[in-house]
């Protein structure tokens, strides 16, 4: 009986990958545990082992193919004397795979760029040439550019150097900047975070990478009590120029301890600045701004967004100021306010609503502290309705705070109560169906908008 070998998922968030190299050829005898191929994910190049034994009957996906979806048959193993025609039908999925690309090693799989539907951004001059890049590449460029410009900028964290970054954000930085500036740490979050804060007081500009912000909980004392409060407690003597960055929020199927959005937690603390970008352009411009800021900045990234592509201005140097929301889409019937990965659902919902004749204005807050109240209030005064969208828990959410501010400052403009779309009030479940249920969805946003529009 012939066996199909399928394209494997090699990380929690992997949906497709590049078949970088075959290490077997048709006719080879394969033993279980033998390396069949090298597969490149958005994070790393991984070796892919055989589980079943057999003879390689047919290679279905050519070496160098990019964008091969998980679970696509890539190879057929046959038994002695068997032919490939005995195998289950495997022709159809092959057609879905993309053609081989010229330089597979450099390819990073990415979803299609998100169209910018808003008016021209004021963040860069009109007519600026744009280039397509992933959020991951944008973050890496931001760090590399700032490290070239300022010798006191250094990066420390787990696996940032020799491993090239647990999520490949720091790929190549060790080679360019050396181990003095790209510092691999032991797994000791409170220790290395305290050291980084001390180093910032000592005159450096450290970037601390948390593999994910779940692990920053071990170090939150230094983020709050040491970094955020000392400038105030010292009467302005001891500012702390430091960036705490890493993946925040749910990835996929990693359970309750690895899936939490801390946006509202950090946004509650005076002395911190809190950034949560959605697009690659914002990720780059805001991270460069964060590294230059003389204050501690919590920079919340998202693992699922890392591989997404956006248009980024092809400028030698640009930054995006804190406290300035971006209007992604203008509308007249309702204001949808979001940030980070929540923008995915906000924008999808706006598309769907447009088809039903509801015109939604979509605002990306981009920074949560400082927060651009004026842009939100001006929009709500125009549309008279507001829905907020975020992945975090419903109690003490950013949306709660915005609702209160809108109530205080724009009560007479409201035609309906503000609705907060959030993650559900439960620890993140592991089961796929329950996880889906726990997260905020585009459907939630559509339903909330219809509710505030009385439709």
């Amino acid at each position: 009986m012939a066996t199909e070998v399928l394209m494997p998922a090699l990380s929690p968030t992997m949906e497709e990958g590049t078949l970088a190299k075959w290490l077997v050829k048709e006719g080879d005898v394969v033993k279980s545990g033998q390396i069949l191929a090298e597969i490149e994910t958005d994070k790393a190049t991984m070796e892919f082992e055989a589980v079943d034994e057999g003879i390689v009957g047919k290679i279905l996906i050519a070496e160098g193919s990019a964008g091969v979806k998980v679970n696509t048959p890539i190879l057929v193993l046959v038994e002695d004397g068997e032919t490939v025609s005995d195998a289950p039908k495997a022709a159809a999925p092959v057609a879905e795979a993309a053609a081989p690309v010229a330089a597979p090693a450099a390819a990073t799989p990415a979803a299609a760029p998100v169209a910018v539907v808003s008016r021209a951004s004021a963040d860069w001059p009109e007519g600026t040439p744009m280039k397509t890049m992933t959020v991951r590449e944008a973050l890496r460029e931001a760090m590399a550019e700032e490290m070239r410009a300022n010798p006191n900028v250094m990066l420390m964290g787990e696996e940032v150097g020799e491993y090239q970054g647990a999520y490949k954000i720091s790929q190549g930085l060790l080679e360019e900047f050396g181990p003095k500036r790209i510092v691999d740490t032991p797994i000791t979050e409170i220790g290395f975070t305290g050291i980084a804060v001390g180093a910032a007081w000592g005159g450096l500009n450290p970037i601390v990478e948390f593999m994910t912000f779940n692990f920053a909980m071990q170090a939150i004392d230094h983020i709050l009590n040491s970094a955020a409060k000392t400038n105030y407690m010292s009467g302005g003597q001891l500012g702390c120029p430091i960036v705490f960055r890493g993946a925040n929020g749910a990835a996929a199927r990693v359970g309750a301890q690895h899936s939490q959005d801390f946006a509202a937690w950090y946004a509650a603390i005076p002395g911190l600045k809190v950034v949560m970008p959605y697009s690659a352009a914002d990720a780059k411009g805001l991270l460069k701004q964060a590294i230059r800021d003389p204050n501690p900045v919590v920079f919340l990234e998202n693992e699922i967004l890392y591989g997404r592509s956006f248009e980024v201005p092809a400028l030698e140097d640009f930054t995006i100021p804190f406290g300035k929301a971006r209007i992604w889409r203008e509308g007249t019937d309702v204001t949808i306010v979001s940030f980070g990965i929540g923008m995915t659902y906000a924008l999808e919902a706006a598309d769907q609503l447009a088809k039903e004749g509801i015109s939604a204005e979509v605002i990306d807050l981009r920074t949560l502290r400082p927060l651009d109240y004026d842009t939100v209030l001006a929009s709500v005064m125009k549309t008279n309705r507001c829905v907020t969208v975020e992945e975090g828990f419903p109690v003490g959410a950013i949306g709660n705070h915005l609702s209160a501010v809108i109530m205080e400052r724009a009560f007479d403009y409201l035609d309906a109560p503000v609705i907060n779309c959030t993650g559900k009030d439960v620890p993140m479940p592991y089961a796929a169906n329950l996880e889906k249920l726990a997260l905020v969805t585009t459907a939630d946003v559509v339903a909330a908008v219809k509710s505030v529009c009385y439709r």
Partner: protein
């Protein structure tokens, strides 16, 4: 390891002994005055006095050079005076006035001086240890030979982040001296009730960090040990641990009735081990100074302390607008 004896007395000059006497006495009189102002309601909140432990910080400051850094816990008044911060500014911070080092916004536990390289003043037990190692990392990064003194108590020595820091400090050869001020009580819990470890410096050996126990009531022994540690650090050999065996005469804070130890125990330390009396005996016993000489210093110190208290009472409370300043740099 047994506590170290003082080095040969002949190595110490009269000037140095007088300097030690003056600096330790300043701390003691300052702290006594702070206790008095606390009782009068002029100082609020927590106030942790350094009385009894003066030899530790005074002896170690004698080994520093310009650019060396220091960081400590909330029992920080002595460290500030010893590194040259102005008594008036420290006392005014205790009273929460605009003339204080933090404009009245930090208080007893949170004071800093960039100018004197004093990095606090930290209220979270043990937090100053990695912070201090970070200051050392910055010096190493910049390629100078400055060292950082990270002071903490026997209580903080049980915090996990101390050992994370030991590990990285030795791994990266950071020029940091970990000074354990072992006054035997973590608030009300004696060392014997919090650990089976016989020594605290000995834990550093597991990370490859050399260290020793020192008689922290003997300023000359402290200085000698400090010189050894500083030489190790400046030579790029990484961190060093000094476990200073010392004793606080007062409670953990002003609100501590100190029921966890006997009056006799405290009295015995005062009678037999007092750091200031020790230096006084050396000066007078060797004929270097007369009672009159020392009385003149006593008067001088008393004036400085009284002046600081007057300043701290006269300095106005911070302007209400200060509520909203210094949140961001």
């Amino acid at each position: 390891m047994a506590a170290k004896k003082a080095p040969e007395k002949s190595n110490v000059s009269k000037e140095e002994l007088l300097k030690f006497y003056r600096e330790m006495l300043l701390i003691r009189r300052f702290e006594e005055k702070a206790g008095q102002l606390y009782g009068m309601g002029l100082i609020g909140g927590f106030c942790h006095l350094y009385i009894g432990q003066e030899a530790v910080v005074v002896g170690l400051e004698a080994t520093t050079k310009d650019g060396d850094k220091r960081i400590t816990s909330y029992r920080d008044h002595g460290h500030m005076l010893a590194c040259g911060m102005d008594a008036k500014g420290v006392m005014a911070e205790l009273t929460g006035r605009e003339g204080g080092y933090s404009k009245g916004k930090g208080g007893s536990m949170h004071m800093f001086s960039r100018e004197k390289h004093f990095y606090g003043g930290h209220g979270i037990v043990g937090a100053q240890v990695p912070l201090g190692a970070g200051l050392a990392l910055a010096d190493k990064y910049k390629g100078n030979d400055n060292v950082t003194f990270a002071y903490f108590g026997d209580g903080a020595a049980n915090q996990g982040q101390v050992y994370e820091t030991y590990n990285m400090a030795e791994l990266w050869a950071l020029p940091v001296i970990f000074v354990i001020e072992n006054n035997h009580y973590a608030m009300g819990t004696s060392q014997a009730r919090s650990t089976k470890s016989e020594t605290l410096f000995g834990r550093g050996l597991a990370y490859g960090i050399p260290g020793e126990q020192v008689d922290g009531m003997d300023v000359l022994a402290v200085k000698a040990a400090g010189e050894k540690a500083v030489a190790h650090c400046r030579a790029g050999k990484g961190p060093y641990i000094l476990e200073m065996m010392t004793y606080r005469y007062r409670g953990h804070s002003m609100s501590d009735p100190a029921k966890y130890r006997t009056r006799e125990e405290v009295q015995k330390m005062k009678d037999e081990k007092d750091a200031i009396e020790h230096v006084r005996d050396l000066l007078i016993g060797s004929g270097l100074s007369s009672e009159e000489d020392l009385k003149a210093i006593d008067r001088e110190i008393k004036d400085i302390v009284n002046e600081s208290a007057e300043f701290a009472k006269a300095s106005p409370e911070p302007a209400l607008s200060e509520l909203w300043t210094d949140i961001y740099a």
